[in-house]
Amino acid sequence: MRSNIDYNKKVLEHFENPRNMGEMKNPDAEATVGNPRCGDVLKIMLKIRDDKIKDIKFQTMGCVAAIATSSMATKIVKGKTINEAKKITNVDVAKALGELPPIKIHCSNLAADALRKAIENWKKFD
């Protein structure tokens, strides 16, 4: 049973005070990635106006890194254009948090993947 991992202050701050967390009524697009079997599950919801991300919300079941990267990813893209937002990668998210423990790098994929998928879903309806 593992019981400790070193996270930096920024990661812990986002974990304790996640930005843009919660449900959204009538989102323009949403996507859920991950599955309960693997552990982490992340749902992203978007409100899009004039090709810009006007509002974004997330819900995550996952470890500290998964919650912190969800929070940071939503913070980065809020207000950005769709074109800018879909270019965001897991590396951008991880860098914005300073650093993630090596075994937790994969968690940052989840946020970037969910965001991209939500944008794709929006385009389908557009």
């Binding site: 049973m1 593992r2 019981s3 996270y7 967390m21 599950v41 996952g62 994969h106 968690c107």
Partner: protein, 380 residues
């Protein structure tokens, strides 16, 4: 304030134990193999400690072999028996053993051993009948743990011992988690492993009980210490620390009361399950799952509140690795990830409400973040 609820991982060395250990570091520091007075004095300390431990478990002095701890004891038991009895190539163990048994078995498989890993029921208890059926002429040893380190379930080791005795097969039990906490009748047990640091002695000391007449070989060779079964200069501070720790009062009754009170409180949080049998369970263990959240996050939040626990969920690779023990008893995915293990010590007594309230608060916070809402599932 810190409340340490991880006593299955390790325990604090009690001051009275540390004091004795300190004496062996700075004052009586000799090598027990030396013939001069400082060496002889240390030899006496080892003999006293071994005698005390032997009396405590109802064994003979020559049946106690000091090792570096539980892992080494388990290795010596399985590999030492395998080495001395090369004609028998079958081992029976369970899927919920500690890694020091499971990995040793896997290693022995590579050199031609057939290993049967028997399962457990949803309560986390093995079926003795299954062992009985699997024993054959080729069986070297049955190794089943006394108390599970994650869910605290107690296996019917005395019954297994009887079955093995009848079949003339060696029986080993990993007694690391139960030693000194639960009485163990060693009449039909050939070997059992003990670790010092789980009972308030230092890390790096343990022993393997080997019943007289057991055919076993050393896996560490050298100067021939420990009846030629475990070479290496004796860890005298550890040995004396282990013997001294036998006098420490476990406060079983108080801790059990605290444990039951905390379980009662936690079960009031909806979407909560206790994993493993409540009837056959060591008195200080709580293994609890909260629906729809992840254990590491909960562990870290509790750490901030001064409560130290561990989790069966380990998001440490591309795929989250869940506890193989919880998997073996059939805990569902959305519960398995939100599991906590609380193994109580005396510092919990009087702080039960604090622990319950902090867990409740943090579970609620994580459920707010999670897309899985227990209420929605429950209504369906």
């Amino acid at each position: 304030m810190k409340i340490y609820l991880d006593n299955a991982a390790t325990t604090k060395v009690y001051p009275e134990v540390a004091k004795k250990v300190q004496e062996l570091f700075v004052d009586k520091y000799g090598n027990a193999s030396s013939l001069h007075s400082i060496g002889t004095e240390v030899r006496k300390k080892i003999d006293e400690a071994r005698g005390k431990i032997a009396r405590f478990i109802g064994a003979e002095i020559s049946e106690i072999i000091f090792t570096s701890g539980g892992t080494e004891s388990n290795n010596l038991a399985l590999r030492g028996l395998a080495k001395a009895n090369p004609d028998k190539k079958h081992i029976i163990t369970s899927v919920i053993e500690h890694p020091s048994i499971l990995e040793t078995c896997k290693d022995l498989e590579k050199s031609g051993y057939k290993i049967d890993y028997i399962g457990v029921n949803s309560e986390g208890i093995i079926d003795v009948g299954e062992i009985e059926k699997l024993i054959s002429e080729n069986t070297l040893v049955v190794s089943i743990m006394h108390v599970n380190n994650e869910i605290g379930t107690i296996q019917p080791v005395e019954k297994i011992g009887k079955v093995c005795k009848k079949a003339e097969v060696y029986f080993h039990t990993d007694a690391v988690q139960g030693f000194k906490k639960i009485d163990l009748d060693i009449k039909d047990i050939n070997l059992f492993s003990v670790s010092g640091h789980k009972i308030h002695a230092p890390k790096g000391i343990g022993f393997l009980y080997i019943k007289k007449g057991t055919n076993i070989s050393a896996i560490i060779t050298g100067g021939g210490q420990e009846n030629k079964l475990r070479s290496g200069t004796e860890n005298v501070p550890g040995i004396v620390g282990l013997a001294t720790a036998l006098d420490v009062d476990n406060k079983n009754n108080e801790i059990k009361k605290s444990r039951d009170k905390i379980i009662e409180g936690l079960l009031k949080i909806h979407g909560t399950k206790i994993n493993g049998s409540m009837n056959n369970r060591i008195y200080h263990n709580i293994n609890v799952s909260f629906y729809g959240i992840e254990g590491e996050s909960l562990m870290l939040m509790l750490d901030k509140d001064g409560i130290c626990v561990s989790t069966g969920s380990a998001c440490a690779s591309a795929k989250l690795k869940e506890s193989y023990v919880l998997k073996a008893i059939g805990v569902e995915d959305l519960y398995i990830h939100g599991s906590l293990r609380l193994t109580l010590g005396d510092d919990v007594v009087g702080n039960e409400d604090y622990v319950i309230n902090k867990i409740k608060k943090n579970v609620e916070k994580l459920r707010e973040i999670s897309p899985f809402k227990f209420e929605k599932i429950a209504r369906k």
